[in-house]
């Protein structure tokens, strides 16, 4: 099969890429754009480590073909912080609450949390747990992640900063 030319808007930057039509978005982000913050844990949509935002919606980039993202906006973990010296409130909360251990699930967790808070700025604990139940973590036991997301939601609403 011939390569397809696609246009991706990743973290605000526009890329024109020639890709094989069978390649996944995760693969193209990691290999062609060297945005390796997006992790692959299972390549089957089971673990959530590869979560990115596509037009603001959280998706498994290992189950999405790169061509499906043509002319759409992709946000990866590298594009979340407002500047190289700052962290996004969700990232900051993960650090403060000890919500990170090995860190392999963290980029996906943070982006899934971003999706949740964009749609539900003040989630209950049960809503956080349901919202992130597709993201596996084998290290933390999750509770510190739940705490971090709750704290981030509060901080975002207190400071009025956009999540």
């Amino acid at each position: 099969m011939a390569k397809r030319t696609i246009e991706l808007i990743v973290n605000g930057d526009r890329y024109e890429l020639a890709v094989d039509p069978w390649r996944t978005l995760a693969n193209v982000l990691r290999e062609d754009l060297r945005l390796t913050g997006t992790k692959v844990g299972c390549a089957q949509g089971d673990c959530g480590a590869c979560t990115v935002l596509l037009d603001g919606r959280s998706i498994s980039s290992c189950l999405t073909l790169a061509v499906e993202a043509h002319q759409r906006e992709v946000t990866t973990i590298e594009g979340l912080a407002p500047s190289p010296d700052e962290l996004h409130p969700i990232q900051e909360a993960f650090v403060q609450h000890g919500a990170v251990q090995c860190g392999y699930c963290t980029p996906g967790m943070v982006l899934a949390a971003k999706h949740l808070l964009d749609n539900n700025p003040a989630p209950s604990e049960a809503e956080i747990r349901a919202g992130l139940s597709g993201n596996l973590c084998r290290c933390t036991g999750y509770n510190k992640i739940v705490d971090a997301i709750g704290a981030a939601a509060k901080k975002i609403s207190d400071t009025g900063k956009e999540a």
């Binding site: 390796t36 997006t38 844990g41 299972c42 590298e78 990232q91 251990q101 090995c102 596996l136 290290c139």
Partner: protein, 798 residues
């Protein structure tokens, strides 16, 4: 949330050797400033922004991609193998079979019984029969399909008890019993004669997958000077090097192994990197090019080590008042196809030996007899997984304690209180627990925080329709620090620079547990500087001293001690120098907060950096080296008597569950877990270990099992192999108690594995307490719970 417990009033009974070791570690009695505080993890900012690189994130430009052709048979002879078509495929750089290997065709953490490439025989589904290196992964995949292998299937062994039969097919030439050990104390027959109640039960646990989220990956990169560089996520760089060198047929110093930050390990990345590194290295050597092997998720499940399954037969005698009189046990520990980390390393290393020692639980029992067998089968192989033999036997003894209590009509807490270890207790190996025994304190604190009595009284139906019942469960546990082998030494080096900054060299790896944060904390505490003044040199066998593997809950304790001893050597230079500068004798000097000061006149002080500069200019020693070996372990090969491990961590867990007696579904409502950790060096990181360990124990209890049919893994993906999600884990309250370990850094003992261990039986016991359904074969999934309730004649009728 820390409760401090003082053990000072009790008399400690250290042996002479322990006393000598403790004397080496002792510090001036001053409050800690850096150790004991919850400083943030250093690499967190890199992790939350996606900047931290894992093995798969390194560019593989110019690399060949390695793939392994796996046996579809559990047990078969290889009659012929034809690789010609694969070799001819464009883009294939090498196809290797057993006869192409340059050195030893075998690897293994303990015994090199696993072929790098199988030559005449395969022993499990997943055994490697050929290796391919190609320009792309796609080509490598295509090449695998072009290799023709003719097998002659052999009868397989899929139950460890079958492996012991006289006429069983031999999986390895030496027979199927890899090891068999015994522990005998007192006279069990006499003990049973004294008992009022004797119960006999069999408990069974399956293979478990670590399910670390990062699939294994390894790079083998030939260097211009002939050295083979291995890079990848791994827990045991030195064990990897020890295996790669003979496989390549070169001396150990011709192999360099560098650890890359792990995306989870849990014991699994102790031996899978040995496997991948040996295979990548032979491909790299054959082609002269760098080779990368990355496993897919299903390959991780099929190929890499698992938690050992065990069948455990128990017979236990107890008096009416709950006093245990005799404990008899048999352990059939299934090793699977290869020895991996299973076999005995004298005197007390090895999975079945560890299981044997821990099997009677943390209880005083005068008469004990345990037989432990480690058996080859044609299944995947058992390795280390967070507790190494201990989680399995805790599932047996902690259920048995509840079954005995129910029989006697006393509570689950009462029977444990009656028998639990205290300072001076004698274990089943005859070891007298000489110090740091906080087991009873964990029971008291846990019951207090959980409100055990109130909750126990309130158990019963949740709803009018009588479909759901609430219940509570308890389990206790003990776990060693370090691994019980003679060669468990650990080295560190501390390099002080003239500006006061420090490089710390340690071979302990980071897999998310926080070693790269806690170890600099210890170094900073000892030198009187701040953690950020210490930069840790990442494990690299060319740079750091031999540290042993990052396993056995040994890192903080053993490496912590080695760091303290190393730091003291440079501290001596600093104190000598400061003494000259301040005209104060060294005995009066102390260091903290980047100042060196006179204890009797704290205003008289010097900047740490200024003293370091002067020491350097004076030619003082600026590099310290520390080596720590725990007290020599002992365990008699015939009687299983001795002191196998030098100190233990203790724990009690309590949990409240609701069981749907019509569907077998379980919901966890509340969880309290109390630990005697000696000293919490970083309480927040410690809490993280506790919560994560409990969640993993929950998976073991309710859902996790590698399902095998005739040796074939039925659930290799994370769709089929279920692990707990955010919806499954309850609120977990950690309770941290500190009963000083005289042989640990600032009193610390190991904690990495302990939280995982009592969690599983606590949950199983709560299910039984709520519903009468006692599940003796794990996991307790809804179906097994449903049938267990039926078997018990239904739920309690009240």
């Amino acid at each position: 949330m820390q409760d401090k417990t003082q053990e000072k009033t009790k008399t400690q009974v250290l042996t002479r050797e322990e006393n000598e070791l403790a004397r080496r570690l002792r510090t001036a009695d001053k409050p800690l400033t850096v150790a004991g505080t919850s400083i943030g993890r250093r690499d967190d900012p890199l992790k939350v922004t996606g900047k931290l690189k894992y093995g798969a994130d390194y560019s593989a430009e110019g690399f060949l991609f390695g793939k392994i052709l796996r046996s579809p048979h559990a047990h078969a002879l290889i009659k012929s193998i034809n690789v010609k078509k694969a070799q001819e495929l464009e883009g294939v750089a090498a196809v290797l079979t057993a006869e192409d290997l340059p050195g030893r065709n075998g690897f293994g953490a303990i015994i090199p019984d696993q072929p790098v490439i199988c030559g005449d025989k395969v022993r499990f589904v997943g055994d490697g029969v050929a290796l391919v290196a190609a320009e792309t992964e796609t080509i490598a995949h295509q090449a695998l399909k072009l290799i023709e292998v003719e097998y002659e299937p052999l009868p397989g062994i899929f139950d460890p008890r079958d492996a012991m039969a006289e006429d069983a097919p031999k999986i390895h030439e030496g027979g199927n019993i890899l090891s068999d050990d015994k522990m005998v104390k007192g006279d069990v027959d006499a003990g049973f004669a004294e008992a009022d109640v004797i119960l006999e039960r069999t408990y069974q646990v399956p293979f478990l997958e670590h399910a670390y989220l990062e699939p294994d990956t390894t790079m083998a990169i030939p260097q211009p000077d002939g050295v083979m560089l291995i890079e990848g996520p791994m827990q045991a760089p030195f064990t990897t090097r020890r295996n790669v060198a003979p496989v390549l047929g070169v001396p150990i110093n011709q192999v360099r192994v560098r650890q890359i930050h792990m995306g989870g390990g849990f014991g699994g990345k102790e031996d899978s990197p040995i496997d991948l590194s040996c295979r990548a290295a032979v491909l790299a050597q054959a082609t002269g090019r760098p080779v990368k092997i990355t496993l897919e998720r299903e390959e991780v499940t099929i190929q890499t080590a698992k938690r050992h399954p065990m069948i455990m037969e128990l017979k236990v005698g107890v008096k009416k008042d709950g006093t245990l009189t005799a404990f008899q046990g048999v352990i059939y520990d299934e090793q699977g196809a290869y020895a991996s980390l299973g076999p005995k390393i004298p005197p007390a290393g090895g999975s079945h030996v560890h299981a044997m020692v821990m099997m009677p639980g943390p209880y005083e029992i005068p008469n004990v007899k345990v037989d432990a067998y480690l058996l080859y089968t044609n299944h995947p192989y058992g390795g280390a997984m967070r507790g190494f033999g201990a989680p399995q036997v805790h599932i047996a003894h902690e259920q048995m304690m509840d079954e005995l209590a129910a029989e006697l009509g006393i509570t689950a807490v009462d029977i444990r209180e009656k028998n639990a270890f205290r300072l001076g207790s004698q274990t089943a190996t005859g070891q007298v627990l000489s110090q740091s025994v906080g087991l009873r304190e964990t029971l008291e604190s846990c019951a207090d925080r959980f409100k055990w009595d109130e909750r126990l009284a309130a158990t019963g139906w949740v709803d009018q329709a009588h479909t759901k019942r609430r219940g509570v469960g308890v389990a206790m546990g003990w776990y060693r620090t370090s691994i019980g082998t003679n060669g468990d030494g650990c080295g560190a080096a501390v390099h002080l620079h003239e500006d006061g900054s420090v490089l710390l060299y340690s071979g302990i790896t980071e897999m998310g547990q926080g070693a790269f944060t806690v170890l600099p904390q210890i170094c900073a505490e000892e030198l009187g500087i701040m953690p950020e003044d210490v930069r840790l040199v990442k494990p690299d066998t060319d740079l750091v001293p031999e540290s042993g593997p990052t396993v056995g809950s040994r890192s903080t304790t053993l490496m912590g001690n080695a760091i303290i001893l190393a730091a003291r050597q440079v501290k001596e230079s600093l104190m000598d120098t400061a003494s000259m500068m301040l005209m104060v004798p060294t005995e009066r000097l102390d260091a903290k907060g980047r100042k060196i000061y006179d204890r009797e006149n704290p205003d008289k002080s010097l900047d740490f950096a200024a003293v370091a500069a002067r020491a350097m200019a004076a030619g003082k020693r600026m590099i310290g080296q520390g080596w720590w070996t725990p007290p020599v372990p002992s365990l008699d090969g015939h009687t299983g008597q001795g002191s196998p491990y030098h100190v233990y961590t203790y724990s009690t867990h309590m949990v409240q569950v609701v069981v749907d007696v019509e569907t077998g579904e379980v919901e966890l409502e509340d969880y309290v877990a109390a630990f005697d950790v000696g000293k919490a060096i970083n309480p927040k990181a410690l809490e993280g270990q506790i919560e994560g360990g409990v969640a993993m124990g929950l998976g073991y209890a309710l859902m996790e099992e590698v399902v095998l049919v005739e040796g074939v893994t039925q659930n290799p993906s994370l769709q089929g192999y279920l692990v707990p999600t955010m919806l499954d884990v309850p609120d977990i309250q950690p309770v941290i108690l500190e009963v000083t370990n005289e042989l640990g850094p600032y009193g610390a003992k190991g904690i990495g594995e302990m939280p995982n261990i009592p969690a599983t039986p606590a949950i199983i016991n709560a299910i039984a307490q709520a519903s009468n359904g006692r599940v003796r074969r794990l996991p307790a999934d809804p179906e097994r719970i449903f049938w267990a309730i039926k078997e018990a004649g239904g739920p309690p009728q009240d």
